[in-house]
Each structure stands twice: as structure tokens, then as C-alpha cells.
Assembly symmetry: none
Homo-oligomer: 218 residues x 4
Amino acid sequence: MTEKRRRRLPRQVREQQIIDVAVRVFSKRGYHAASVDEIAELAGISKPMVYLYLESKEGLFIACLRREAERLVAAFQGAAQGVVTPELRLRAGLRAFFSFVSEHRDGWVVLHRHAAELSEAIAAEAAQARRAVMAEVTDLVRAGIAESGGPARLGDEDAEFVAHTIVGAADSLTDWMAEHPAESPDGMTRRLMNMIWVGMRNVLDGETWTPPPPPPPS
Amino acid sequence: MTEKRRRRLPRQVREQQIIDVAVRVFSKRGYHAASVDEIAELAGISKPMVYLYLESKEGLFIACLRREAERLVAAFQGAAQGVVTPELRLRAGLRAFFSFVSEHRDGWVVLHRHAAELSEAIAAEAAQARRAVMAEVTDLVRAGIAESGGPARLGDEDAEFVAHTIVGAADSLTDWMAEHPAESPDGMTRRLMNMIWVGMRNVLDGETWTPPPPPPPS
Amino acid sequence: MTEKRRRRLPRQVREQQIIDVAVRVFSKRGYHAASVDEIAELAGISKPMVYLYLESKEGLFIACLRREAERLVAAFQGAAQGVVTPELRLRAGLRAFFSFVSEHRDGWVVLHRHAAELSEAIAAEAAQARRAVMAEVTDLVRAGIAESGGPARLGDEDAEFVAHTIVGAADSLTDWMAEHPAESPDGMTRRLMNMIWVGMRNVLDGETWTPPPPPPPS
Amino acid sequence: MTEKRRRRLPRQVREQQIIDVAVRVFSKRGYHAASVDEIAELAGISKPMVYLYLESKEGLFIACLRREAERLVAAFQGAAQGVVTPELRLRAGLRAFFSFVSEHRDGWVVLHRHAAELSEAIAAEAAQARRAVMAEVTDLVRAGIAESGGPARLGDEDAEFVAHTIVGAADSLTDWMAEHPAESPDGMTRRLMNMIWVGMRNVLDGETWTPPPPPPPS
DNA sequence: TATGAATGAGCGTTCATTCAT
DNA sequence: CATGAATGAACGCTCATTCAT
């Protein structure tokens, strides 16, 4: 028998093991298609342990949500640490995001791509987790423009609009990144900064794009 | 029997009725949490009819996927019809997208936000549906820059990068839009154009954003 | 294969079959120890049918409770039909009870002997079923004494006390009866009437038993 | 650690503590719905202790059964101690019963109202416990009638019939008593003696109640 | 003496799917 | 064209019981 003898582990360790596995499985299958059986088996324990420590499938999923949200927020905050110019702070944030997704793709999927299939109870928790992430970005944006001499009248609306644009773009680009494995988080960041930095300034400065005049008939 | 006798309807009509309901239900519940029972009941027919016409739950979902993808692609194509300048074509495409989501939110959700919970068979179909949409946008982008005197050497990579950015931003902004019901598709489009048009030109022209020099020590 | 081909039966018939079996199983095992699996198997159908028709294990048990309570109350009422003197009405009621228990022992067990293990939801239903039976007896008692020239001041309390005595005695005697199979419902009734008729008159007439004086010391 | 450290207690004490709790829990929930987890927690010890001392859930229940039966039998015997006339001995026994139920309702429930849900092994034990109680009452009845000049030919059958009547009535009256909290064991006893004493004499003397003649037609 | 860690087995429930009419 | 009747298979969850310390 090559089977590993299950060693008795203290609760905290087992709990993290379970959550580690659960994030992977939830990410791969989605909430409903994931089965507690599979999670338990991959974690090398029996089902009742999962229930003993995490209460229910819902509880397990929420634990995953919370941990991954905390990790991502921590990544943001760590990245901005000590960076002074707003431009560079945004860059650092984006780089942190792309690094996080590179290294914790499952975590990001669990956090961001399960809205449709969740029970009301979980949906609330998920919304809050996503709001926490979005808030970090919004802060980055708002602080950025404020410090860089932007208009004081910057509204919440505009900042949130920009944040949604950036997060959505970044999220979508994780797919692109998956198809271009050579691309590093640094490269992604440079590309995306290039694409949005100027536009962001436009929006936050209140400049408005207007349709060009129709070309003169030849 | 006061109950209304269902009239016997030709197959095509019934099929569309079923798909209409199914899109709503799949959108609200997600693929796994949606039950064929509920769909049949809301469609006012018995379960075996669903299987007679759509083969299986998977078949039903795929039918939904295809129809909504077709509708969205058609919306893009209709919007670009007769519009000459690339800038305006992009604008028209975005406006079509936001209109589609405003009016067919369920369709968009089914198309775009169920990646995680799908069986392999469906996932392939879904990926293709999304690729079809992404291809439309990529074409818009590529054509745009080509006509507007952009570099001939424009790589597929860059165009796809930009397309991912735009689609991701637009997708994410549907959430923002849902929280700001006063905003019209036209308004959304102007805001987003403002944010990305210049950056897109930068990227496609090969200009690169570089980190600013560190501020001089005080 | 001697296995009987399951015939397709209309809902009402199947429902009664299921309840028939369920009463037997609940009676033998008690609510918690009874398994829906066993009930389904003995009924010759699959588990989902039970849930389709009876909603849940609780629903199934409540259906049993209701049907048996109705049957017993009907037996009481049928027995009293056309009997004029109160004494004979009580006798008829008791005879009906003993007949019911002889022929539907399981029904009586389900009705009367499961108080301890029921969920709050079911306990309420069970209490009501038992109250319905007790009410029949109380009426019998009250009507009896009233017509036979008993005191007008007969209180609800006394009538219920007597009813409890009679029902409790009769219930307990079903055990005795089970150990004396030769005894007929008629015989049981005569024995029990003999035992309680006079005492009942005493109680309802307000006569009170008093401890006899201590025997004179020798 | 503000938590009180459980003191190590000698086996006998712990055992009684566990049984105390178990009687309460079994009474409230019924045998199957009661969980060893709950009992252990309420007893303030860990589950393995329960198994160490009582072997199994069955063993625990049987221990409860035995202790409560012993207590009730002791109560009967203590009550009859030194009472000479049979009438008063019966009265004393009934009073002891009602007192016991007033003070140990849980014990009585465990003893008497769980027939339906017990495993064969336990059912036998429970039947024996109930028989022990019934035997006490039967003795009371038999002794009573014998001493008071009743017929020598008194059969076991009759005595047991009477005992069943009395025990069943008394049991059922515990419900009535629960709804009339003002009633004391003494009051219950007087009421019940009033109701059954004469009838009991009738039965044991061999007198038979006969249906009255039909009323003359008017 | 005492317990935290762990599990095999089973139960209530649901769901996609099919059969017979 | 249309459906009421029926089920195999799986899933979430719990429980009595034991092991290792």
C-alpha cells in the first residue's frame, strides 16, 4: 500500500488544507457542480471533517471567498506600500493583480466569476468580497488623480466608472494572458497602462470625447 | 375544466418559447442550479416536450448559447452597417453592445458569465460563442486602425489585446450600469470611448507608456 | 424473474398504497427509525415517487396521522349513529375503539404513541389528531351524563378527566388485549364498562370517594 | 483560560451525571433523535467518556430505563410500607405514581412512551421494565381484593385487566395533569380512586355490567 | 482519567431522463 | 403532438463509534 497514512493534524492546519483544495475545485467546477465528496477526497480526509470544520458547503465556499479576497487586498496594499507617485501606485496595483492571477488563478475565478449560480446568502458575501477589491482600485484611482493635480470635483461616479473599466479590462486580459504564456505580469501591466492611463486622465479631468465630424463627401 | 387547453403549436414556435424561458432561468440560476422542471413549467409544457425538441439539458443550454451569440453578433453587424469612419464604427459597436445588454441582460449573462460551471462539452461551445463576439470586436479594432492610417504591421496580438481590454471593460461596466439606471447606452458609450480611444491609438501605433522618472529628492 | 412488473397506477391509488405501507412501517419502527427507503420498497415503487406525492418524510407522516385520525373518528361517529341512551352510546363508542385497534393496530400506534420523537411541526399535528379523538369521547361522556339526568353543573374539567381516564384505560388495555387474543371487542367493552360506568357516574354526580376510617386498634 | 477545568471525578459519580442528562435528552427527543453528542456536551464531558462508561447508545438508554424503573418501583414500595388496608394501599400507590410523574416526568416518558422506536434489544428491556411496574400495581390490586374479603377464585386475568386499566388511566391522566398545574398528586389520586374503586370491586367480585333494557316505546 | 481528531455507513432529498399511453 | 407516471444515480449532511495521544 503506497497509501499515505493520514496523520492527525491540528484543526488549523487541516482547515487550511481543506480550503486550499476547495478553492481549486470550486474554481474548476463552479459552486453547484463541485461536490463535497471530491473536495474531501482530494484533501485526503473524509467528508465529515469538512462539515466539522466548515459547517456546510456554503460555509466552505464563503471561507474560500474570504481568504482569497483577503489575499488579493493584501497584495494590493503591499504593492502600493512606499510608492509615492499616483501613476506608479496604479502600476504597482495592476502588477500585483496580474501577479496574483498568475499565481492564484483559481482564487480569482472563485472571487470573480460565480455570480450567476450562487444562493442569495452566498451572493451577498461574494458581492462584498468583490466590493472590497473594487474599493482598493477605486482608491488607487481617486488618490492618483487627486495627487496629480486633478480636479477637486472628482465625483465618486467617475472614479467608480474608471475602476470598473480597469478591473474589467484586467479581468478579461487574464484570459488573453492565459493564451500568451510568455507575457509576464510586468509586460501586461505596461501594455495596460499604455492603454488606459491617458484615457483615465481624460475622464477624470472631465474632458469628453466627441464624435468626429462626418468626413466631407468626395 | 376551466383550465386553458394548450393549443398545439408547430415545432419551431414551441422551440423558441422554450429557449426564451430557458435563457431567463439559466441566467437567474446558473446552469446547474437551473432545473428542467422549472423551465418546462414556466414554458407551460411538460418535460418530455423539452427533451423531444432539445435533446437534453446540455442541448438546451447550447441552443440558448447559440441564439444569444447570434443575436449579439447580428447587433454588432447591424450597427456597423453603413458607418464609414473607424472611430464611429467602434462607437456604433459599443452602443450596440450596451443596448443589447440593457435589453437582453439574461442573454449576456448566459453568454459570458457561466464559464466555471460548465461541462467540458458545453464549455467548448461557450468558448466558441465568446470567440465569435470577440472576433467582431477585434475586426472593428483592426479595421479601425488600418483605415485611419495606422501601421500596416499591426499584429494580431495587439488587436486582440485591445479587444480584450474593451470587451472586459464593457462587460464590467454592465455592472456599473446596473447601479446607475439613469445612464443610457449612448452615455455609456461616450464615457467608454473617452476612456479608451486615445489609449487604443497609442497601443496600436506602437507607442509605449514608460514609467515616469522618479521625482527629484527634495 | 418472478418480479411483478410495476403497473402504472393513477396518483390517488398509489398515494393510498404508500400511506398504507407507511402506517405499517412508522408503527413498527417509529418516526425516526423508519426509513423512506424501506417504505418505498415495501410499496413496490422508487423513492422519488414518495417525494413526488407526499412532499417529504414529514408530509408522509402527517398524511398517515390524518387518515388514521379520520378513520377512528368516523368509527366513533358511525357507532353512535342511532343509539339513543347515553350508556349504550358509550358502549358503542368503546366497542368501536376496540374494533378499530383490533383491525388497525398500526394506525392506533401511529396516532397515539409517538409523542416523544416528533419534530415540533409534526407534534402539533399529532396533538391535534389526538385532540380530535379525545373530543369525541368527551362528547360521549358529557352527552351521556346530561341525558341521564346528571347535574347541569357538569364542568368541562370533570368530563375531560373522565375522558382521559377512559381513553388511557382503553389504550393500555389494547396491550392486554394483544396478550389475550381470545378476547373480542365486545368482551373488552363489557369488561371495561363494568369497571368504569359506576365510577364515572360518581365523578360526574360530584360524589367523592373518601379514605375509610382507620381500622380500630385491636 | 478562564474556562473551568473539569475535575476528575470517580466513575460512579460521572456515570450518574451522564444518566441524569441522558434521561432528560431521551425524554425530550426520543431515542433515535437524541444524539450522543448532545448528551456528552450537556454532561460537560467528551464523547469517548460516554462510551467508556456506558458502552454504547443502547447501553446508555438501558441504564436510563433501569434506573427510572427502579426508582418508580421503590416509590411504590415505599408508599405501601406500613399501610394496612388494601384500599389505602392502592391510594398510596397511586399517589406515589402521580408524585413520581410530577417530579420525574422525563423518567416516566423514557419508561413508558418510547415503545415504537426501539431496537429489538432495547424493546425487550423496556418491556421488562414496564412489566416490573405493572407487577407492582397488579400485586396491589390482588392483595387488596384478597384481604378485603374478595373471592378466592380471583384470576390473574382479572387482576391484570384491572391493573392495565388503572395504569393506563393514570398514564393518560398525566397529560391531563400537565394541563391543570393546580392539581396536586393528592387531588389526582382522590379523583381517580373515586372513579375506579367501585368498578374495580365489581370486576374483581365477578359482577357484570349488562346493557340496560331498551327504553319503552312512547 | 480524558479528549481532539477522524471515519464508515446511511438517510432525506433532488434531478435529469425515460416509458407507456 | 402531448403527458402523467416512474426511476437510477448522486449529493448534502449527520451520527454512532473509534483511534492516538
